[in-house]
Structure formats: C-alpha cells, structure tokens
C-alpha cells in the first residue's frame, strides 16, 4: 500500500471522529505552543540583555577599589598603569557619576553628571557634534568645563545652545565647551541625558576625595581575559587583599548572562517538554482505544490481504498525522503568542527556527514512538480473532 493511500486512510479516520481527534491534538498543540513561546521569550530577553551590555561596550573592564587608611590606589597610578600597557588598553577613565540639579537661568532639570577623564570619548566611542571634550588641562586645573548631551540641550536651552554658554550644576557655574552628538534619539534617561565634567571636579561635587571606580577599554575584546589578569595582579600588589578590589570585564558579564539564559531556556524548555511527553501519552492512549474499537476493521483488512506493515503504517501514520497536525497548529499559536507576549513585555521576541524545528521534530517523533506500540498491537492481531470480534 502506498504512503498516499495510508495517509488518506489516516485522514478519513481522524475526520471520522473530529472531537476526539481535536482533544487528542490539544495536548500536542499546548505542548508545542508553550515550548515555542517560552524559548522565543527567553531568546528575546537574552537578546535584550546582550544588546544592553553591548551598548556599554564589550571591550570594557571595570575596576572597583575599596580603599583602606593605609592602602589605596591613586588616580595617577592607574593612568600610568594604562599607559605602560598601551598595547592592551586604549585608555582609562575614572567613574564618578551622580545626579544633580542643573539650571540655565530659571529652567532646571535633573540629569546624570559624569566625571570623566580625557580618554572617556575614545573609550566609549562617542563623538561630539561641536566643540571639544574634557581635556587633561581641565582636569589638572579643575577648570569648570562641561560637555552636554542633546536631551539636556533640548530641555535647558530649547534646542539652541552656543559654545561658551554656561549652566549651573549643583550651584556651580560651568562653561559649555562641547556638545555630544545625539546617540539615542534624545530620550530622557538615555545616553543623551548627560553632562560630562572633569572627574577632578566631580569628586569635589560629590564630596568624596577618593575615586573608587575606573573603566578601562581594551584595544580588542580578545584581550579581556589578559587585561583582567594584569589588573588583578597589579591591584593585588597594592591592596594585598582580594576583598579590597574587584575587576569585572564586560565579556565575562556577557558570558554569565548567556550562561544564565541558556540555563533558563533549558529549564523552561524542559518543563514545556514534559507537556509534550504527556501529549504523546495521550495520543498513545487514544490510539490503543482506537485499535480495540477497530479490531473488526483490522480483521477485515487482514482477510482481504493486508500485511503486517500495511496495518502498521495505517496506524502509525494516523498517529503521526494527529501529532504533526497538532504540532503545526501549536507552532502557529506559539508564534502568535510569542509576538503578542513579546510586545506586552516590551522585548523583541520571535519564535526561533531552532525551537520550531525542535517542536516539529519532537511532535513527529512522538507520533512515531507513541503510535508504534498501538500500531504494532493492531498489526499483530490474529485475523480470525479480529474477524470474530464485534
């Protein structure tokens, strides 16, 4: 008997009891849809997180120091260290960030004020639309210069600002020496909602004399591990205690995120996979019932010359048809659910090809595996006994 014929028989039988077939499929539909939706959402979240971190720069290594009375790291030492290893590091900048009230005349806003070193621009691969960035001289002389982001320009200056204008940051007057090029559509809270000032002044504004955090940029992402090791050794030499400093490279963080989300998708996928297993058992159950109900039919077919493989393929194909039809409906519903939920959560989630192939493969596989046992039972029936049954 040809495959097309066996398939036609399977369809006839499935359509012959629509409600039962649908209920059998339902398990498959739910299982497949949940696998696809969960994996799609996890992938969406992963991409979102990775994007966020990649925006910060994957070649960054952040150092935090917790100084004691006797042991501390001077800014100069850090700069010198970066210069010594300029084959690895593009540069370094201290991180002194705080939120302050900023005023232009009577207009005021709160924004993030970043104390930057002269390398900050290179490290963060930023550009200016006009003017210059904070320079070494500004830092050394504690000159009250600032570079402002486009959101600040829009908010404080109504979009029109000239170099040399001044702003008041926490009550101190700063001269605008540069304007940052727009980076994120001038949105509130974005990289455009910032003011850069010399770090030497920032430490004063924050009334803490020590700088506790630095960001190094490596010349190449591949150097991250090497850079981390160098910094570890260097800082251990000064602080003599691993507890007093911390070196985190962005690639390391990305690895951790990837590990976590991979684990998350494995766990969620596994849970959804259990529902696929249950669906498979449901199909097997129905097929077993179907074999018993159709004993007479099997007997008739056998008496007319159906071989073992004919009966076998009829039932296996029926099981596969049920499971893959359920699988396809599940894929469609799962894809819709992924997009809808993704939008609701504000992430870009799409069903992954991997998840779709996996779900389809598993559903077809379940049809074969769980259809085999009932089909085998049917194929093994003795034609005489089968004919005699009612």
């Amino acid at each position: 008997m040809k495959f097309s014929q066996a398939w036609k028989l399977a369809l006839q039988s499935i359509l012959g009891s629509k409600m039962r077939s649908f209920l059998t499929m339902l398990g498959m539909i739910i299982g497949v849809a949940s696998v696809i939706t969960l994996l799609g959402l996890v992938t969406g979240v992963t991409n979102y997180l990775v994007d966020q971190f990649a925006d910060m720069g994957t070649n960054m290594v952040t150092v935090s120091v917790f100084p004691t009375d006797t042991r501390k790291v001077e800014v100069e030492d850090i700069y010198n260290f970066a210069k010594e290893h300029d084959d690895i590091f593009i540069g370094v900048t201290p991180n002194v960030t705080a939120n302050y009230t900023v005023k232009n005349g009577s207009t005021s806003m709160t924004t993030s004020v970043i104390g930057a070193g002269e390398d900050y621009l290179d490290i963060n691969t930023m550009d200016l639309s006009s003017g210059r960035f904070i320079q070494y001289a500004d830092i050394a002389n504690r000159y009250e210069a600032c570079v402002i982001g486009t959101y600040v320009v829009n908010e404080l200056f109504d979009g029109k600002v000239t170099l040399g204008d001044t702003v008041k940051i926490n009550g101190k007057i700063f001269t605008i020496v540069g304007i940052q090029e727009e980076q994120a559509d001038s949105e509130e809270g974005s990289k455009d909602d910032r003011i850069y000032i010399p770090y030497s002044i920032a430490t004063r504004l924050s009334q803490s004399s020590d700088i506790s955090s630095y960001t190094f940029a490596t010349t190449n992402t591949d150097y991250s591990d090497q850079a981390k090791e160098l910094l570890d050794n260097y800082l251990y030499g000064i602080m003599k205690n691993e507890e007093l400093y911390q070196v985190i490279s962005m690639t390391e963080l990305l690895d951790v995120i990837n590990q976590m989300t991979t684990m998350l998708s494995a766990v969620l996928g596994g849970i959804a996979g259990i529902s696929l297993l249950v669906a498979g058992i449901g199909i097997m159950n129905i097929m077993l019932v179907s074999v018993v109900e159709r004993t007479k039919e099997i007997g008739i077919r056998k008496s007319l010359g159906a071989k073992k493989r004919d009966i076998m393929s009829q039932f296996v194909i029926e099981a596969i048809t049920i499971s893959t039809t359920g699988g396809i409906i599940g894929i469609i519903l799962g894809s819709i659910a992924t997009n809808v939920l993704g939008k609701a959560f504000g992430i870009e989630a799409a069903p992954t090809t991997g998840a779709i192939l996996l779900a389809f493969g598993v559903s077809a596989g379940i049809g074969i595996c769980f259809g085999y046992m009932p089909a085998n039972k049917a194929a093994k029936l003795n034609p005489i006994d089968a004919l005699r049954s009612e």
């Binding site: 008997m1 014929q5 039919e297 008739i300 056998k302 007319l304 010359g305 071989k307 073992k308 004919l387």
Partner: protein, 246 residues
Amino acid sequence: MISEQIYDKTKVPLIQLIDIQKIYKMGSTEVRANDGISLEIMEGEFVAIVGKSGSGKSTIMNIIGALDVPTSGQYILKGLDVSKMKNDALAEVRNKTIGFIFQQYNLLTKQNLLENVELPLLYAGIHKRERKQLAMEALERVGIEDKWRNFPNQLSGGQQQRGAVARALVGKPSLILADEPTGALDSRTSRELLDFLKQLNEEGNTIVLITHDRSVAEEARRIVTLKDGKITFDGAVEEYRKQVLL
C-alpha cells in the same frame, strides 16, 4: 514467501488437504478441531462443507481460507504449500487467490461501497485508476453499480451482501470461499445469492460454501459433511440426498 511449485496446476486439484490436524490447547486439555482431514477440490467445482457447530467446519474454513495454518498435515492451494507459511505470505495468498464472502458481509462502515470493493486491489498494489475501473466492473456484475457512492449503512442486507460478493470477485480469485453467506439474509435474497453463486460456478469459478444448513448445502454440486473434526461424507449432491433420506 515460502512457496514451492509442487504440481502442474492444470492437471491437479486446486485444493489439496492432506491429513490436516488442528489442535487447540485449552488449559491442559487438547481439542482436536480437525482430526485428519484429507480432501481434494478440483478447479471449477462447487463444494459445500456442512456440519453442526463444533464439527470443525469453521476451523477447516480458516485453513482453506489461509487465515490459519494446520497443526500438522499439508495444505496445497494452487500448487503452493500454504501449511507452513508465515503471516505475510498467508496475507498474500488471501489477497491473490481467495475471495471471501462472510455471513456478516464485513464491509467497512466508514468507506463507501466502491472503496470497500477496491480494498483487495489496494493491498495488491494496483494503481488507483485501474482499481476504480475493476471495482466498478465487479459492482456492475452484482447489479448495484448505481450504489457505489453509498455507505454500507445506507444499503439493505441483500445489497450489502452483493457488495461483499463484488469485493470477493474483484481480484479474480481462483477460489471463492463463502462462510454462511445466507445466514443474515431473508429467504428471497438468500435465493438470489445462491442462484448468483451457481451462475458464478457455471462461469467456471471454484466455490467452497461453508454452512450448517442442509438446504443451502444442497445448492452445491458436491457435499462434504463434517462431524467431530472428521469427514463423514464426501460425494455428489444426489448421493447426499439419498443418504439423508435413508
């Protein structure tokens, strides 16, 4: 397929049963359903096998119909030794050589009449178009070609049995095996069916009819009676009538 071309089929019997024994084990006791049956049926014969229930006629019908194999003895059908065949080989013998007519018609309820008649051809691997044509021819032969689209539950008992006959004929089998074919029919349709079987026999078909009903058996030309798994009579219908009268 375990097959041996043992005889030249033009000169030898179509069916040759040699000392057939069929023993069923029921717990510790053995039931000898067939106890040394030997029988030859030539091509073109119309034989009725008669017996009460428990006489072993169903068992011998299963063996002749290649639905079962004997415990011992040899069954040669159309020159092939069927008695040692495995399931799939038996299926092929049933498909190619035997046309069954059952008491309960045994049509598939979810398939229409045409699809039912096509079934043996389907398992013979015959192509769709030819299948349809042969099945329609068979339905014309039994005179219900206009009902081909109907499902069995839309047909009368007589029409269903005709459908079953068409299904038995469609593969042009060497042997038509009818198991209590009139059992579920009223007297008028029974008469029609028996006349049709006679006609088929006159056209050269070999027919073996299994029945418990003497009047039905007497429609055949040769009668074999069974009792307790053994043949008690084997001869022409005229002789049988005489014996019954005695």
